[in-house]
């Protein structure tokens, strides 16, 4: 298991935001967590990445219990939010290859890995454009590529595509799927978009009022009326049938 969470509780001002959360995540899997706004999705990822401290409970990462130091990110995890947080003074290439600076690579390896990633992200034509001038989708792709090239053991995605328009979102989602397949990424993605959850995940959970419900299969997730998946699928079926 890459990640194991046991009885995790997070309390903000005497209000429990995460209530006895437990789950585990094997290597190479993507866990989609859905839930309405304010259900504690982002808090969960922030606690896992040590952006927020745990109130009680345990986090095991690569079978080691985490004893986080405040304000110090957990090694081996990269957190990606809807804000791409690109380093505005660095070029697109330097942003993407940022993580490679710490990998002891030869210049040739450095270059080929960077070029390969730029091709995968379909950013070759905007390679020389300052990152500040890139579109939202392009920025998010740069952030995604940068995170993956750093080869994290666990990628935490906090509604990373929610600020993008439908077309761009679909493009970036495809890029993400491609990267997941090539780099066997272990990740947790939180979203309130049921389609996105179904498309990107191979494990599913639902967070509601701080409580997490795990589903063992995709079918089980779809069949639970409270997830809204059946409703969503039926809606799209009806749209297609009407046409």
């Amino acid at each position: 298991m890459v990640l194991e969470i046991v009885d995790l509780i997070k309390i903000f001002d005497k209000t429990p935001v995460l209530n006895k959360i437990s789950f585990s995540l094997p290597k190479g899997e993507t866990l989609s967590i859905i839930g309405p706004s304010g259900s504690g999705k982002s808090t969960l990822l922030k606690v896992i990445s040590n952006r927020l401290p745990v109130t009680t409970g345990h986090i095991f990462f690569n079978r080691n219990k985490l004893n986080p130091i405040p304000q110090q990110p957990n090694k081996g995890m990269v957190y990606l939010s809807q804000e791409p947080l690109l380093f505005s003074h660095l070029s697109l290439v330097k942003n993407i290859s940022f993580g490679l600076n710490f990998k002891n690579l030869s210049p040739n390896q450095f270059l080929s890995k960077t070029q390969h990633m730029i091709e995968l992200l379909e950013l070759k034509e905007v390679m020389n454009v300052p990152v500040m001038h890139l579109s939202g989708g392009q920025k998010q792709r740069v952030a995604l590529g940068r995170a993956i090239l750093a080869e994290p053991t666990l990628l935490l995605l906090d509604e990373p595509f929610s600020a993008l328009d439908n077309f761009t979102r679909s493009t970036v989602q495809k890029v993400f799927q491609k990267l997941c397949a090539e780099f066997s990424i272990t990740s947790i993605i939180v979203t309130h978009d049921i389609k996105e959850a179904l498309l990107l995940g191979n494990r599913f959970a639902k967070l509601e009022k701080g409580a997490l419900k795990n589903y063992s299969t995709r079918k089980e997730f779809i069949n639970d009326p409270s997830t809204g998946a059946t409703e969503e699928i039926n809606y799209w079926k009806s749209v297609v049938n009407e046409k």
Binding site: S49, R51, Q71, Q72, P73, M77, V78, Y79, S81, E83, P84, L85, L86, F87, S88, H89, F98, G99, N101, F102, K103, V131, M132, K139, R146, A147, A150, P152
Partner: protein, 246 residues
């Protein structure tokens, strides 16, 4: 209107320059004169003035460096104390210094260069803290963590990410704190008690001695850094402080 202001400015500065290079202004002459001594040479600087320039420069540079660097770090880690930093500005600096003087005598730094530096630090440090505080936005803090998540050490993050992004703000803060010290009179006269002869102290001394020519020279020199820094601010720094953007 702009021309009237400019004209007045030129008149004032022009007269100051003229006085600074003169040595006499006998009645009823319209303009001061005696630009050169009898042997035809002209000495703009004397030893006292040079020593004072050195003293002021050293003091201002040290203070600017100290307050900017400490203020930068403190504004990140003590971001909840912004209101506390406003405290020194509630009372006039001269009253603050008069209040602190007893403390300075107790610790034995009264009448010393270090004492003046410490006194000015009480004024410039809160300024640096407040000035640099907005730099540490949540977005920037997140970028700092992201950089470390991607494998960078704290030092690497500081030099390659935070440093370049903070450079315009740090430069501007350095200039401003330099000017706070450069133009300070109250601290230098109260804590320095006339022993630490900064340029401002020297100007007042010359004025008291009715030596308007040397007073004009010292005043002119005082004005130079402000003028230069204003130009630098305008051309190279202002507008380059987005603090952080993605």
């Amino acid at each position: 209107m702009r021309w009237i202001i400019l004209f007045n400015f030129v008149i004032v500065i022009g007269l100051l320059i003229l006085l600074a290079i003169s040595s006499e202004w006998p009645y009823p002459n319209l303009m001061p004169g005696g630009y050169f001594s009898k042997n035809g040479s002209f000495q703009f600087f004397n030893l006292v003035l040079l020593k004072s320039i050195y003293q002021s420069l050293l003091l201002s540079l040290t203070l600017a460096l100290l307050t900017t660097s400490i203020g930068f770090v403190a504004s990140r880690y003590a971001s909840n104390h912004t209101r506390l930093a406003l405290l020194p500005f509630l009372i006039a600096p001269i009253i603050l210094m008069a209040t602190l003087r007893h403390f300075f005598i107790t610790i034995g730094v009264n009448n010393t260069w270090g004492g003046v530096l410490l006194g000015q630090f009480f004024l410039a440090y809160p300024f640096a803290f407040i000035f640099l505080h907005p730099f540490w936005t949540q977005k920037l803090q997140d970028a700092l963590i992201t950089s470390q998540e991607l494998g960078a050490t704290f030092m690497y993050t500081f030099t390659k990410i935070i440093g370049p992004l903070a450079r315009p703000a740090l430069t501007l803060c350095f200039f401003q704190t330099f000017l706070i010290s450069w133009f300070d009179y109250g601290t230098a006269i109260i804590i320095g008690a006339g022993q630490v002869k900064t340029l401002t102290v020297l100007v007042y001394q010359y004025v008291q001695e009715a030596n308007i020519y040397l007073a004009a020279r010292a005043s002119l020199i005082i004005g130079i850094p402000a003028f230069v820094l204003l130009l630098i601010n305008k051309h190279y720094i202002l507008g380059k402080i987005p603090f952080y953007g993605s």
